[in-house]
Each structure stands twice: as structure tokens, then as C-alpha cells.
Amino acid sequence: MLPQLECPVPPTQPLSPIDFHVLLVLAEKDLYGYAILKSVIRESGGAVEPEIGSLYRVLSRLMGMGLVEEAPAPAEGEGTHRGRPRRYYHLTEAGARALEADARRLEHALLLAKERQIVGGAGA
């Protein structure tokens, strides 16, 4: 049985799947655009598959919300790749908080789903 039924997360606007996965990817390490794209596809199991246009709109929006910021390249020489510019993105503290809140929301939902035996491994 679950100790509580109320959602433990303060009610905030849930992130869209793509926002969530972008933040999740950046939580591991700073990445540049195309690397983010690939990681999101991989980590979501292909369920979230942004193309270039929407990826940069998401990044632009997340930056506007202060959840993501531009970061210096992690190592010398990684600022360009074959002469092409490479900008790295970094999860801000606000971004980390938003990610955590949404992850908790999902965790809670998952626990409920298990309890109701919608997915296996009920935590009774």
C-alpha cells in the first residue's frame, strides 16, 4: 500500500514530453543541439522524436523560461566541429527544480499505476 494518495508534488504545469526529455538529457551533462536531439530520441525509446526546427524552438522557449542556458564548451576545441559552430546548453537551477518536480509527478503517477496493476511490479 502507498502511504499517501495525495500527489506529493506542488501542482505546477506539467512539462510537455519533449521539454521533459530535453531537460532530462541536460541533467546528465551539457550538450550541443544535435547531441541533445539524438539523446532525447534514444532516452525516450523513440517515443519523442523532435526534428531540428522544433528542437531549437524548444531550446529557445526553455531559455526564455530560464530553465536552460547557454554554456561554454566543456573542453577546448569542442566549440566547433569540422568548422561548424557548436553551442552547448546547460540545465539551470530553475530547470533542475522544474525537472525534479515533473519527475516526482511522474513517479507518483507510476506508483499509482503499479498499485492499480496497470503496469507490473506493484509496490504493495
Partner: protein
């Protein structure tokens, strides 16, 4: 699968595709992310294994970039570099907005007259619209003040295929509907009337509802105290009970609960108070007491049509299902009761439709007319703004040069119109508030529910809607054209404003004049209608006639002899008053309530079959009444005192009756009978005279066949007494009251009015429409004149140099006047032509409101055209005169 060589760059056509796609992306976004997007594209292309995956990637990316580009234009995610904080976007927008508002207000302060014209124009347009919408909303749209009012129905009996109309229903038909129409949950019948309450103090005339049981239940209400009238209380010998209105209970009985069980004397009979209606219940309108309808159930049965009927739909049922079931029932009753029901059908409508159906078309036409005024106001303001925009093109060019973007300029222009429209709307709401207070007086009680009209939430919402419409209509045009200011070079002050702007201006002016022409024609037609109504030959006099009703209680005046003696004495006494020329009494007088009709039989002819039956209305009058009303016989003689009693009953018929029944024979001397029970059957009356047709129920209806018999043969106890005076009638009223009181202190006078007032009531709806449309048309003409003047003055001012040159080269003053006038009036002429055509096509819409004038009356069209030509000529003439005085030297030096 073959591995692609490392570092392969995208091919040139891939790059070209991406560059094309990137062109859809807003510049700022592209500047920030463009190179990264290209890099990611290249990365992806490198990694794509195989041609199929490669091309999938290319197309997907290109489509994605285009999609993002469009999305970014509609809902930008980009915010200023230095404001990347949460909410910064909103703050920037608000900041810019506040700046724009300040700029707009400053602009208005700089040109106060211009701003005043714009704001007042919009205020008048929006105010008039809000006011008329408040009427439409209060009268037509807002629900009746009863629970679930949309479930209330009104059901009437109708003759199908017969000339005579019916309306009221028989009690037996009502009972059948109650039991057989499953769509109806509750049904009740009622009729109006009035009763005299004689308690302590002066007798009071109370409007009464004579009802079957269940009236309150139909309306979904319960009595505030006690109970409603019960089913066992109507019928000829039922107990006399009464339900009081909440107002009467409060005002007359101090809201005492002990009022239940008390006995009231109403028109000479004792009634026991059994209940008090809930507060605010006002049905039929004005009723303050409800008593059981006393009817003889086994008398004339289905042939007695005395009841108005209201009903409540069963839950889930619709008016359509109720209608269908009633139609099926009517068909069955037609077979079953051929004598009484052969042509009878039931007309089911919602109560609201029935109450306001007569004014629905009129009010919607008014709403349409006032919408035209708003369109004109918008066109006018847009024209003026265009003129100013052209004058400000230099200003715009400067701002463009300083880096203001196209969007920024349009935004600024929209904010400016928004500010003006908002101030206009505020003025408009104030104006509407005033108009709404004047309207009920204009309507003179003839627009139902007019008391319900107010400025409330829906009306304010409508105003907001008008505001947005107005902003879009008049704000967008200058906004789009102002943008072309970019092309105006900074050096010159564009002397010849752009051809497109001028074209647009002329279009707008033309449209204004066209709409104005439509309004002028419409109001002209209504004015002619009003005139025709006042001039209509009614068949009787209306000047200096006072009338009032009396109702003799049957307890004190049990026989027709008593009734006749009372009215006869009263008339004699009134005629003795100084200044009184004649007095008379009548039942069923013109423009008053009360009438009875029956089937006509002519002596010596076979009884008509049901198909041949013709109806006629019967009236009961004293000889004095014919004198008061100035009704002279066309043939034969009038009525005399001697006709009242004894001898053979005589009657007058009207021309319509004579035409219907005696087309080839002389009606004088014929015997006619109407199947109305006069207390001693339906005797044959000997026709002694023929009178002209009277407009009885309204000023516009064609006459109905009628019979006038002397009081004494047939006379209900409630009669209307009419008094004709040498001069204005009202001053004799106190003396008349004195005479009535001296004859019977318990008789109140009610429905006291002059005939002129009765006529006024009749023309009130038309007058209402006339006042509104004339006001709209004049407003429209004024606005059009302002627009024409503004543009003509502007054009003349712009052409000062050219005009100066012309004068210097010898052009005469008249030539200059012609030039400016001609140019100023050209759009007006086109607009007028288009407007008259539109009016020609649309005037049919008005036809239900018209009387005595054809919808395409040439005189009205000519008058509207002449007025508009005059208005536009005046508006353009002033600048033309000014231009003709141009001093060539000053003009040429000015540049």
C-alpha cells in the same frame, strides 16, 4: 550496408533546401539559431545510413524547420537577449503597450479637435448600438422571469381556412390537450378582466386573472402563502375564492398571515382569500387578484372560446413535440366534434415568442439599422485616419528610418485605434445608459417587456464586441496603409498622396454615403407610414373625446333594464355638463378591448353549412355613442332612444357586412342574426341603417363585418362611456367622476383615456421605430457630411499649390469651386447610386412595418437622394469656397 565516408558534407541541393526552409523562420530566430540548425542538419545527414534514411531525414528536417518558422511567427518563443527571465516577454509587451498608449494619448492631445471627432463618432456609433442591443436583449433574448422559462408555451385555437380568427380556447379542448398531449406537463387557462374591490375607503379597480387551476404550477411556482385556485372551484356554482398578488397583500394587508380566510367584496360578491402569489408573479400582466374562472361547462362546450392557455413542457420535451401532438389531437377532434371543431387547430408557440412576436421583426430591423450607423462611423473614422495618415507620412518615414519595424508601426497604429475606440466605447456606454432611460417613454407601453431593458452584463459584453469590431474595422486600414509611408522619401512632403490611399478613401466615403442612403430611405418609409397612420380614415372621430369604463356588479344591477337605466341616466347627467356635446356608451368600442363574434344568419335564407358560415362582430351601443363618435348612417337611419326597448329589435350593419351578405339586395329591412347568446337566444335584428367601415382593432386593419345593436337588447354590464366635448376633454373628468359617484359610490372609473391617447397608443410602435430610424439616419448623414468635408478640405489643402498655379494661369473662381466640389462629391454620387440600389433591393425587409406606403415609394427615394446630395454638396462646398480664394502668390511660395 555500406558505411558512408566520414565527414561527408551535405550536398548542395540539401543545403539549398534548408536555406529555403530557413527563409520562413523569423529573422531574429534565424540569427540566433540558424547556424546551429545548419550544423545539426549537417550532423544528421552525416549519420544517416543509406539513401532512404537520408532523404527521410532531409524532408523531415526541412518540413520541421518550415513548421517551426511558421509557429515562431505566430507564437514566438524568442525573447530579448537581456531579458531572458520568466515573464520577461509579457513585461516587454506590456511596456511597449504602455508606451504606445502614452504615444496615442499624446497624439490625441496634440490634435484635440481631430481626436474629439473620432472619439465622438465612435461613441455615438457604439452607444446607439449598445442601446438598441439592450432593447433586443431585454425584450427578445433574455428569458422570462420564471423558473425554466424556456419550457413555457402559449397555445391558441385557430380556424384553418376560415376568415374569422379565434385565438382563445374552449375549456373542453384545453382538458383534452392536458390529458392527451404527453409533451405537456401542466396546463392552465385564464382570461383577463377587472374587479372592483370595495373595502374600507374608495373603491379600487383591480386587474384580475380568471383562471383554471394550476396557473402557478405552470410557471413552476408555489404560492407564498396558502394555496392556488383548486380544480373544484371553477364551474358556475363553485365557491368564490381569491388569490392575492404579493404586492396587494403587502400594500393593502400589511403582509398579515391572517389574511387567509378573510372575505373580500369584489364587484359586489364575497370572495374568500385562500392564497398569496409569490413575489413578482405578474401574469397575466398587471393582475393583482386571481379568481376561479366561473364557466358553464355544459353550456356551449367546445364552441365557447374563452380561455387563453399557457402550458409547461414536460422534462425533455420540446415545443416541436408538443406541437406535433397537439396537431394530431386537433385532427382527431375535428373528426369527433364536427360541429365545433371542424376547422379548429392548435397553435403552439413558446410563451416568449407569443409575448414579443409582434415586435421581433421591428427590433431586429432596428438592430440592423443601428449596425449600419456603426459601420458608417467606422468608415468615417477610417477615412479621417487615412487623411491624417497621409498627412503624417513624413512622420512615418522618419520613424521607419530610425529603425521602427513594419510590425511595430502597425502595432502602434492598432494601439492608437484601440485607445480611441475604448474612449468611444466608454462614451457609448454612457450614451446607451441615457437612451435606455428614454426608450420606455417612447415605446408608450406598446413594446412588451420594455421595462426589462437595462445595461447589464450581456449588453456590456456586446459593447466590448463592438469595440473589438470597431478597432479591427477602422484600425486596420490605416495601419496597413500607414506602413507604406516607408516608401515616402524623407525629403519631400508627398504632395500627391498615393493613388491607392486616395482610392481607398473614396471607397470608404462612397460606402458611407451608400449606407446613409439606405438608412434615409428606411426612415423615410417609416415617416410616411406614421403620416399615413395619423391620416387614416378611421370611420369615426377621435378629437376631444374622453372615455372610461364602468363595470356594474350584477348583484346591484341584475337585469338589462337596470343596466340600461343606469347608463341612460348617466349619459343624460353628463350631457348636462357645460362644454359637453354628447355622451354615449358602448360595449366593444374601437381601439378598446372586448368583442364578441358569431356566425351570421339572414332571415329567409337557408342556414349556412359549416363551409358557408361567415362571422360578424356584435356591438352594443346607445344612440348617444354614435353621436359622440360622429358616425352617420350611409343609408337608412341611425339608432334612436325608442329602439332600446319594445318593438322589433333593430340593428345597424357596416358596409363590409352589407357587401358580404347583401351584395345585390338592399340590406335595409332585412333580418339578421348573430349566434351570440344575448341572454334570450339570438334574435333576428331588423337592419335599419348601414354605416361606414370602422377601424376597430387597430388603425391599419381592414374592417370586419359588424352589427351594432341598441343597448337594451344586448348589453354586458361593463361598458365604455364616451364623452365628446367642445374643447379639450380632460377638464370635464372631475365633474364626470362626481356624477358617477353620485349615482353609485362603489363604481370606480377605469381605463380612463382620450381617444387621441388611444390612437397614440396604436401608433406608438411605429413612432418608436420612426424616432429611432430618423435619429440613426440623421446621425449617419451627419457622419457622412463630416467625412466628406474632412476629405474635401484635406484634398484642397494638399492641392493648394496646384490651385494657386491654376489661379495664376487665369482659372476663374467658379472653375476652382467646380474642381474641388466635383472631386469632393464624386464618391458621394457613386455611393448614392449604390445606396439607392441597395435600398431598392432591401426595402422589402421593412414591409411588415409599413402601412399605406409602398416599400419602393419613388417620392421617398427621391427625397432621400435629394437630402444626401444637399448634405454632401454642403460638406464639399465649404472647402471649395476656401480653395477658390487661394492667393496664387501665397500658394506658390508655400513650398
Amino acid at each position: 550496408m555500406k558505411q558512408r565516408p566520414e565527414g561527408r558534407s551535405p550536398g548542395p541541393w540539401h543545403r539549398a533546401l534548408l536555406v529555403l526552409a530557413l527563409a520562413t523562420v523569423p529573422r531574429r530566430f534565424r540569427r540566433r539559431f540558424g547556424s546551429e540548425m545548419r550544423a545539426s542538419f549537417a550532423d544528421g545527414l552525416e549519420e544517416a545510413a543509406g539513401g532512404r534514411e537520408r532523404s527521410r531525414f532531409v524532408w523531415r528536417s526541412v518540413a520541421g524547420v518550415v513548421k517551426a518558422g511558421i509557429a515562431e511567427r505566430i507564437r514566438p518563443t524568442m525573447v530579448e537577449e537581456n531579458q531572458r527571465k520568466k515573464g520577461a516577454g509579457v513585461r516587454t509587451f506590456m511596456g511597449a503597450l504602455a508606451g504606445d498608449v502614452r504615444l496615442a494619448l499624446r497624439g490625441m492631445r496634440r490634435k484635440p479637435l481631430f481626436a474629439l471627432v473620432v472619439v465622438l463618432t465612435l461613441g455615438l456609433g457604439i452607444g446607439a448600438n449598445s442601446a438598441i442591443f439592450s432593447v433586443v436583449n431585454g425584450v427578445l433574448l433574455s428569458p422570462l422571469p420564471f423558473p425554466e422559462a424556456d419550457r413555457l408555451l402559449s397555445i391558441r385555437s385557430e380556424w384553418t381556412g376560415r376568415v374569422a380568427e379565434l385565438g382563445n380556447m374552449s375549456y373542453l379542448d384545453l382538458r383534452d390537450i392536458a390529458t392527451e398531449d404527453e409533451a405537456i406537463e401542466q396546463i392552465a387557462g385564464y382570461s383577463g378582466g377587472s374587479l372592483t374591490l370595495t373595502e374600507s375607503g374608495d373603491p379600487v379597480r383591480l386587474e384580475a386573472g380568471r383562471v383554471t387551476d394550476g396557473l402557478l404550477q405552470v410557471f413552476g411556482l408555489a404560492p407564498a402563502l396558502g394555496r392556488d385556485i383548486r380544480a373544484d372551484e371553477f364551474g358556475a356554482d363553485g365557491p368564490r375564492t381569491v388569490v392575492l398578488s404579493h404586492g396587494l397583500w403587502r400594500d393593502r394587508f400589511g403582509m398579515e398571515r391572517g389574511v387567509l380566510g378573510r372575505t373580500l367584496t369584489l364587484s359586489g360578491n364575497s370572495y374568500e382569500v385562500v392564497g398569496v402569489a409569490p413575489e413578482g408573479f405578474d401574469f397575466p400582466s398587471g393582475a393583482t387578484v386571481w379568481i376561479p374562472r366561473r364557466m358553464v361547462l355544459d353550456g356551449c362546450g367546445r364552441g365557447c372560446h374563452g380561455l387563453n392557455v399557457v402550458a409547461r413542457l414536460a422534462p425533455g420535451a420540446t415545443a416541436a413535440t408538443a406541437r406535433a401532438q397537439a396537431a394530431a389531437l386537433a385532427a382527431r377532434l375535428q373528426e369527433e366534434y364536427r360541429d365545433t371543431n371542424l376547422y379548429k387547430s392548435f397553435n403552439v408557440a413558446t410563451l416568449q415568442e407569443r409575448m414579443v412576436g409582434d415586435v421581433r421583426i421591428g427590433l431586429f430591423i432596428m438592430l440592423g439599422a443601428v449596425a449600419l450607423v456603426l459601420l458608417i462611423a467606422c468608415a468615417n473614422v477610417a477615412t479621417l485616419l487615412l487623411v491624417r495618415g497621409a498627412a503624417r507620412s513624413g512622420d512615418t518615414a522618419v520613424r521607419t528610418a530610425l529603425g521602427a519595424s513594419r510590425g511595430r508601426l502597425i502595432g502602434q497604429s492598432m494601439v492608437e485605434s484601440g485607445v480611441q475606440a475604448a474612449i468611444g466605447a466608454a462614451i457609448g456606454v454612457g450614451l446607451a445608459w441615457v437612451i435606455v432611460r428614454i426608450l420606455p417613454a417612447l415605446a408608450a407601453d406598446r413594446i412588451p417587456r420594455i421595462e426589462n431593458v437595462r445595461i447589464d452584463g450581456p449588453v456590456l459584453l456586446f459593447t466590448l464586441g463592438s469595440l473589438v469590431t470597431v478597432m479591427l474595422l477602422f484600425g486596420l486600414i490605416p495601419a496597413v496603409t500607414a506602413n507604406r509611408g516607408e516608401r515616402v522619401s524623407l525629403g519631400t512632403r508627398g504632395e500627391q498622396d498615393g493613388r491607392r490611399e486616395r482610392g481607398l478613401r473614396n471607397w470608404l466615403l462612397g460606402a458611407e454615403v451608400a449606407l446613409c442612403a439606405v438608412l434615409l430611405v428606411g426612415s423615410g418609409l417609416l415617416v410616411r407610414t406614421l403620416q399615413e397612420l395619423y391620416d387614416a380614415d378611421l370611420g369615426y372621430e377621435t378629437e376631444n373625446i374622453l372615455r372610461f369604463n364602468l363595470s356594474l356588479p350584477s348583484v346591484s344591477y341584475p337585469t338589462i333594464d337596470d343596466i340600461y337605466a343606469f347608463y341612460s341616466t348617466l349619459e343624460d347627467r353628463i350631457e348636462g355638463l357645460p362644454g359637453v356635446m354628447a355622451a354615449g356608451s358602448a360595449w366593444s368600442a374601437p381601439l378598446a378591448s372586448g368583442s364578441a363574434s358569431g356566425v351570421v344568419y339572414v332571415e329567409g335564407r337557408p342556414l349556412p353549412t359549416v363551409e358557408e358560415e361567415r362571422e360578424a362582430y356584435i356591438h352594443s351601443v346607445t344612440p348617444g355613442w354614435l353621436e359622440v363618435m360622429g358616425i352617420e348612417p350611409l343609408r337608412g337611419r341611425g339608432l334612436t332612444e325608442g329602439d332600446a326597448f319594445g318593438g322589433e329589435p333593430v340593428a345597424l350593419i357596416n358596409q363590409r357586412f352589407a357587401d358580404e351578405h347583401f351584395p345585390d339586395t338592399d340590406p335595409i329591412g332585412q333580418g339578421v342574426s348573430i349566434t351570440v347568446d344575448l341572454g334570450y337566444g339570438s334574435p333576428y335584428f331588423r337592419v335599419v341603417g348601414v354605416i361606414g367601415d370602422l377601424r376597430e382593432r387597430s388603425l391599419t386593419e381592414t374592417s370586419r363585418a359588424g352589427v351594432w345593436v341598441p343597448l337594451g337588447h344586448f348589453g354586458p354590464s361593463a361598458l365604455g362611456v364616451s364623452v365628446r366635448t367642445e374643447e379639450s376633454a380632460p377638464p370635464v373628468l372631475p365633474a364626470v367622476r362626481g356624477i358617477v359617484a353620485s349615482l353609485d359610490p362603489n363604481l370606480p372609473l377605469y381605463r380612463v383615456e382620450t381617444m387621441d391617447e388611444a390612437v397614440f397608443q396604436q401608433v406608438a410602435p411605429t413612432r418608436f421605430y420612426v424616432i429611432l430610424t430618423v435619429a440613426f439616419a440623421l446621425l449617419a448623414a451627419l457622419l457622412a457630411a463630416v467625412g466628406l468635408y474632412g476629405v474635401a478640405a484635406f484634398s484642397a489643402a494638399r492641392r493648394t499649390r496646384e490651385i494657386g498655379l491654376r489661379v495664376a494661369l487665369g482659372a476663374g473662381r467658379n472653375g476652382i469651386v467646380r474642381l474641388v466640389l466635383g472631386q469632393g462629391m464624386r464618391p458621394a454620387f457613386w455611393g448614392l447610386a449604390a445606396g439607392l440600389l441597395a435600398a431598392y433591393w432591401a426595402s422589402d425587409l421593412l414591409s411588415t412595418l409599413l402601412y399605406g406606403v409602398a416599400p419602393r415609394d419613388p417620392a421617398v427615394f427621391a427625397g432621400a437622394a435629394a437630402l444626401l446630395v444637399l448634405v454632401s454638396a454642403t460638406a464639399a462646398a465649404l472647402p471649395a469656397r476656401l480653395a477658390s480664394r487661394t492667393d496664387p502668390m501665397v500658394a506658390l511660395r508655400s513650398e
